[in-house]
Subunit: 555 residues, 2 copies
Amino acid sequence: MSSSLRVLPLGGLGEIGKNMTVLEQDGRIVVVDVGLRFPTPEMVGIDLVLPDFAYLRERAEDIEAIVITHGHEDHLGALPWVLRDLGDRLRARVYGGALTIAMARSKLDEHKLRDVELNDVEPGESIELGPFSLELVHMTHSIPDSSAVAIGTDLGTVLITGDYKFDQTPVDGAPADVSRLAELGREGVLLLCGDSTNVDREGFSPSESVVGPHLEEVFSRCEGRIVVTSFASNIHRVQQVVDAAHALDRKVALVGRSMRKNVGIGRNLGHIEIPDGLLVGPREINDFPDERVVIISTGSQGEPLSALRRMAYRDHPQVQLKGGDTVVFSATPIPGNERAVNETVDRLYHIGCDVITPREAPVHSSGHGYAEEVKLMLNLVKPRYVMPFHGDFKRLRLHAQLAEAVGVPAEDIFQGENGLPLDIDSRGARFGEHEQSGMIFVDGVEIGDMADVALRDRRMLSADGIFIVVVTIAEQDGSSVADPEVIFRGVPFLDQADELLEEIRDTVESSLTRAASEEIREVDLLQQVLHDDLAKLVYDRLKRRPMVLPVVVEV
Amino acid sequence: MSSSLRVLPLGGLGEIGKNMTVLEQDGRIVVVDVGLRFPTPEMVGIDLVLPDFAYLRERAEDIEAIVITHGHEDHLGALPWVLRDLGDRLRARVYGGALTIAMARSKLDEHKLRDVELNDVEPGESIELGPFSLELVHMTHSIPDSSAVAIGTDLGTVLITGDYKFDQTPVDGAPADVSRLAELGREGVLLLCGDSTNVDREGFSPSESVVGPHLEEVFSRCEGRIVVTSFASNIHRVQQVVDAAHALDRKVALVGRSMRKNVGIGRNLGHIEIPDGLLVGPREINDFPDERVVIISTGSQGEPLSALRRMAYRDHPQVQLKGGDTVVFSATPIPGNERAVNETVDRLYHIGCDVITPREAPVHSSGHGYAEEVKLMLNLVKPRYVMPFHGDFKRLRLHAQLAEAVGVPAEDIFQGENGLPLDIDSRGARFGEHEQSGMIFVDGVEIGDMADVALRDRRMLSADGIFIVVVTIAEQDGSSVADPEVIFRGVPFLDQADELLEEIRDTVESSLTRAASEEIREVDLLQQVLHDDLAKLVYDRLKRRPMVLPVVVEV
C-alpha cells in the first residue's frame, strides 16, 4: 500500500504571525512551530491570538513531536496554551535548538508547566520520530539558534525553512549551512515550505554585521546619553550595541524586563559576551556623566507599558530623558505598530531628544531574506513541490512567482491558506478539503473562539456604553413596588441626564401598565417589553445604541 | 498706545490634523481653519475629534470671521460643531474659496445649519474684517481652490499657508501665485505660519500632472476591470483617471457616496470635465465587457464601510471583484491607517486581483510640498518671524531647521504647541501663557471632553466586560428578600459560569450578613461593601477585572 503525506498549515498563511504546521503520515503527526500573534484593535480586550488547533484536540496521542524552528513569539508563543489544552494525552516531546529550548523552558516555567520534556537538538543530528525523521539545519535570523526543519517521510523530505536570511557574515561567524541544504537538494526534497516575509524586497538583505559600525558611527556623534531600543531577543544586535558602547568608553545599562531576561539567557548559552565592569544597573545610570552611558531598552514597537514608552511619556522610574539625549531605534515597526511607534518618536522630539531610526541611518537589518535569497533557497533545495509559508496573500503570490522564475513548474507550486491541507502521494500533490482553522483568543487565563458572544457585547459596550434599569415588581400582581433604579456606564456627555432618567421612569411605568393589560407576567417576556420600549427611547434621545439591560426583580 | 497681536494655535501643532488658529488684535478675533481629526483606537466609540475651542466660548461676539483655507476635513470638518456650539452670539461670516464654501455648505446642510452666512472669496480680493484685512492667495494642493490666508494687522501681515505645494504644472493650469507671495514678501510679512507635513522629504514634490500618464500606462497593461481608489475630494486626480479611461475607451463608474457627491460639486464649479456618455451608473457596470470599465471608488484608507473595503470582503452590492481585475491605490495611507489599508490589499490578493500601489508605480503625488518648497516659501515671503504649523513635533523641528538654513535667525523662529499663544508687539515676539487647548470628542450628536468618566468606563467595559448583581433587601431590617440576580455581559469563556454564579450568591449573603453585623444600612455603603467583596471574588476566579456593579433595591 502506498503511503500518503499531509501537510496542513494551521497558521502563518494569509497573515504574518502565529505560524503552525501539522505533518501527518500513517496516522502519526509532527507539529512544526506553535506561534501566536498579537490582537488587532477590533479584538477588544483580547490579550493574544493563537492558531485554532482543534485539528489536534482529538489527536493528542498521535503527536510524535513538536518542533520549534526558533524562539520568536510567532513560532513559539502558543506552546504553553497548546500543551495545557492537549494535556496528559499528549506524550510528545518538544525539540529545538539550545536557545529556543531555553526560551521555551522560561515560558513554560511562567505558566507552571514544569514536567514537559524539552530536548535540545544539535544541527545535523538525526532523530527518529515514529515514521518520521527529524534534522535541524542551521540558519541565520534575528535570533541565534534558528533552524530549518527537515522532516524525512516515506515519500521524501519536507523542508520547512522557518524564518531565515543567508547572512554571509553573521555576528557569531556561523553562516547558514548552505552545504547541508545543497546536499538535501541533491538527495531530493519533496516539498519546500519557505519564509515569504521579505519576498517583496529586491536583491539580498544586508548582513547583520554591517549594523555594528553604523551604530558606532551614530554613537560617536552623540554628546548626551544614548538610548538604543531593539527586540530583546535580537541577541546579536544587543552584542553589537554593547561592542559600540565599549569602543566609545560608555557604560551599558539594560532596561526593561524582557531585555534583562533575554540577555541573561543569551549570556548563559554563550551567545553574547559583555566585558567585565561594562554593565551598570538602571539605578546607577545617573552616577555616570551623560556622555559615558548607553541604555539598551525594550519598547521598539511603541508597546504601551514598555520602558521606552514610559521614558517618552516621562513616566520611567530610573530614566528621565532630556534635550541632548539621543534615542536610536534599531528596529522597524511590525505592520500595525506604526502609529504607536510614531507617537513614541514624537513624544521624544517634544522632550527635545534627537531620534535616529532606520530612515536616518542604517541602524537595522532585517532577519528575513529578500527575493534573491528566496531564489537561492529554491535553487539549493531544488524541491519537487513548493508551498510558500509565512506571509500574507500578496507575499505568498510573489513567492510563487519567484519559484516559477527559477524554473519550478506552475502546477507544482501550491499557494495555500490556513486549514487547507496539501495531500501528497506517489501520484502527485493536491489540496484536500478544508480543515477547521482560524483564531483562538487568549483572554486572561482562558482561551476561546471568535464567535464568543462576549466579544460582540464588548464591542457594543465599548462603542456606546450600557443602561441598566432595575424594576422591582410584586410577585402577586406584577405591580411596581419600588422606583426603578437606572444606572448607566460609558454613556458620555449626558447633559440632560435628569430629564432622560425621568423619561426612563415614565417609560417603565407605561410599559408595565401595558404588559399588565396584555397579561404579560413572565419575567423574560416582561424584560423583552421593557427592553424594546427603553431602547427606542434612548435611541430617540441620544442617537446612540447603548446596551439596554432591564432587570426585573420579583418580590 | 501700541497695538499687540496674538496668534494662538488651537490645533495642528504636535499632531497631524484638526488645524485651527485664532488671531486676536484689539479684542477682535479672526479664526483660520476649523478642522477635525479621526479618533485613535483607544478613543473607544468616539466618532470624531475636534480642537478644544473653549477659548472662543466666552468670545463668540468678538469673532469677526472664520476663514477656511481649503475643503479638507482637517481644516473644515469641525465647522458645524463650532458654529452650533457658539450659537446665536456668533455673528461672524465664514470665508473661503468657491469650492471650499460649496463643501462647507453641503456639510452645514447635513447638520441642518442653514442660516449661516458663507462667502466665496476670490484670490486677490481684499476684505475688511474690523481691525483686520483678509486676502486669499491661490495655492496648489490635492483639492482645488486651496488658499494661503494673508491677514493684515496693525503690526504687519500674518501669512498662514494652509496646505500647499508649489506645483508648476497643476492639472487646471493655475500654479500657486508665487508673484503675489513675493509681493507680500517685499511689502513685509510679520509672521509666516507654514505647512510642515512633508518637511522630512528632500527636494521638490512631483507635480500632480505626472500622475495621469502613469495611470494611463498602468491601465494600458490591464486586461480586466480596473478599480481606482483615491480621496473623493482630490478632484484633479479623479479628472486624470477619467482622462486615462477615456483615452483607453473605457467607461467610468463612480462608486461610494462621497465620491459621487464631490464629483458632483466639482462638476458644478467647473473643476472637472467628463465627456458625455462616459459615465455609467454602478448598476450598469456589468453591462460592459471587463476591459471597457474603470470604477472610481472610495476606500483608499481602508475605511470599514467604504465601497472598496466592501468589494475586498465580497460584500458590495454592485461590484463583485474577481481574478484578472486590477485595483489601483492612487493614494498613500494616512499615518495610522496602514493596517486597514494592508488588510484591504491582502483581501484583494486573496480574491486574485492585481493590486498597484504607489510602491509599484508612481500613481500618486502628495499635495504637500517637500523641503525645497518649504524653503522656497520662506525665501518668497521673507518673514520677520516663523512659526511652523501642521506637523508633529518632529516636523515642526525640521521646519525650524529649514528656516534657519535659509537665514531666519534662530530667535525669530517659534516652535509652538497647541494652546501656546505667540504674542507680538512693537518690542518683539514671545510665547505667552498656555491657554486651554486639547481635544473635544464627538460621540453621536453630543460633544464632550477627554476627562469624561464615560470613556474610562468604556475602556474598562471593552477590556473585561461587566458583572451586575442586583440585591433586593427589606427596608425594615436589610435582610435579603429575593435571590440576587447576577447578569454578566462581555465576560468571555465562562466555562464554570454556574459555579461562579453560586459563589457570587454566597458572597452576597455573607457580605449582607457582615454589613448587618456592622450596622451598615445606607444603600451607598452597602453597595460599596458588595462591590469590594465581589470584585475580589471575580478577580480571584477569572484573573480579570470586569466592572462589578452591585445594585441594592430596598422594598
